[in-house]
Symmetry: C2
Subunit: 180 residues, 2 copies
């Protein structure tokens, strides 16, 4: 027999003008709040050829000075039809009083990454502070990420990767639109 | 102007008998799938007194050999009323062919932890493999966790912590019921 349970008393907000009021430190990243959907391309020397993918991103908050972050991608075939589930990420973006961002991002591939950076205007640049790897994870040394709000409803994303013996180089780029 | 976007083509399953079919490696942890709600107590020498909290846990999967994990807690006052949002966690539990579990768990407090362990019968024991800390995070050295399905609809949770100069010791324990 299962129990009915109360609704969570502190649901996340997904818009700056929605309860709960965003923490003041979130000001530089308020434009990210919400859900995003779009397309991207990726490649890496150790992968067999480039690939196209679709992606959902969600940023929310609960009134404290961090964003909840989740990303889900799926590969697309030559006809742009879904092929299979692909990269997933979740974590937290902590905003510091001096405007720095500390992003904790984990992936089911066994990678837990702590990135640091800053939100400058409409761009957030992040680079690796520390990477922790699960015992069976592939070797990832470092990554660089750039998120840019090119307008209120368009988010571009570029991701460079240094892994599996390869130097830092382009891995993914995507253009996402705010979901209605 | 925002775009309507297609539904995600690979939604997570929250029950063993629901699509998508769970990966065979998830067999030892199928009992965790779903949402859980319950109460817990916590304390630590560096905290001012013990505390009561309520917690939601969610385990889901997308057909691959890992669970998506999310936990949200909120503190309760002396009258058992919600006081404020508290600990949050998200991450992934990777199941290995030999039955080992690799759990990646991040917290908005700036902690990214990789734990390893095993599911034995109805109990999953995890201990720290590696901890990565955000530059401004408090110092956490290691943790130990035990999740036990005492019956199909009841999950107990014990969490020991070695942090901020204190030796490994009890930190949290909770009893959760499956949400209807």
């Amino acid at each position: 027999m299962v129990d009915p349970a109360p609704e969570h008393p502190y649901p996340d907000g997904h818009r700056p003008d929605e309860a709960p009021a965003p923490h003041a430190l979130l000001e530089p990243v308020l434009g990210l709040l919400g859900s995003w959907y779009g397309r991207g391309e990726g490649g890496y020397p150790t992968l067999t050829g480039d690939f196209g993918y679709a992606q959902e991103l969600t940023f929310s908050h609960d009134g404290r000075p961090f964003l909840r972050y989740e990303a889900r991608a799926w590969l697309l075939d030559a006809d742009d039809a879904p092929l299979r589930p692909s990269a997933r990420e979740c974590g937290w973006w902590r905003l510091q009083p001096d405007g720095r961002v500390e992003a904790l991002i984990t992936q089911p591939t066994g990678i837990a990454e702590i990135m640091v950076g800053r939100a400058t205007g409409n761009t957030i640049d992040l680079s690796t502070h520390e990477v922790a790897l699960a015992p069976t994870a592939k070797k990832v040394n470092a990554t660089r990420r750039r998120y840019t709000l090119t307008d209120d409803d368009t988010l571009t994303f570029h991701h460079d990767l240094e892994a599996v013996g390869q130097p830092m180089q382009h891995h993914l780029s995507a253009r996402l639109r705010r979901r209605g």
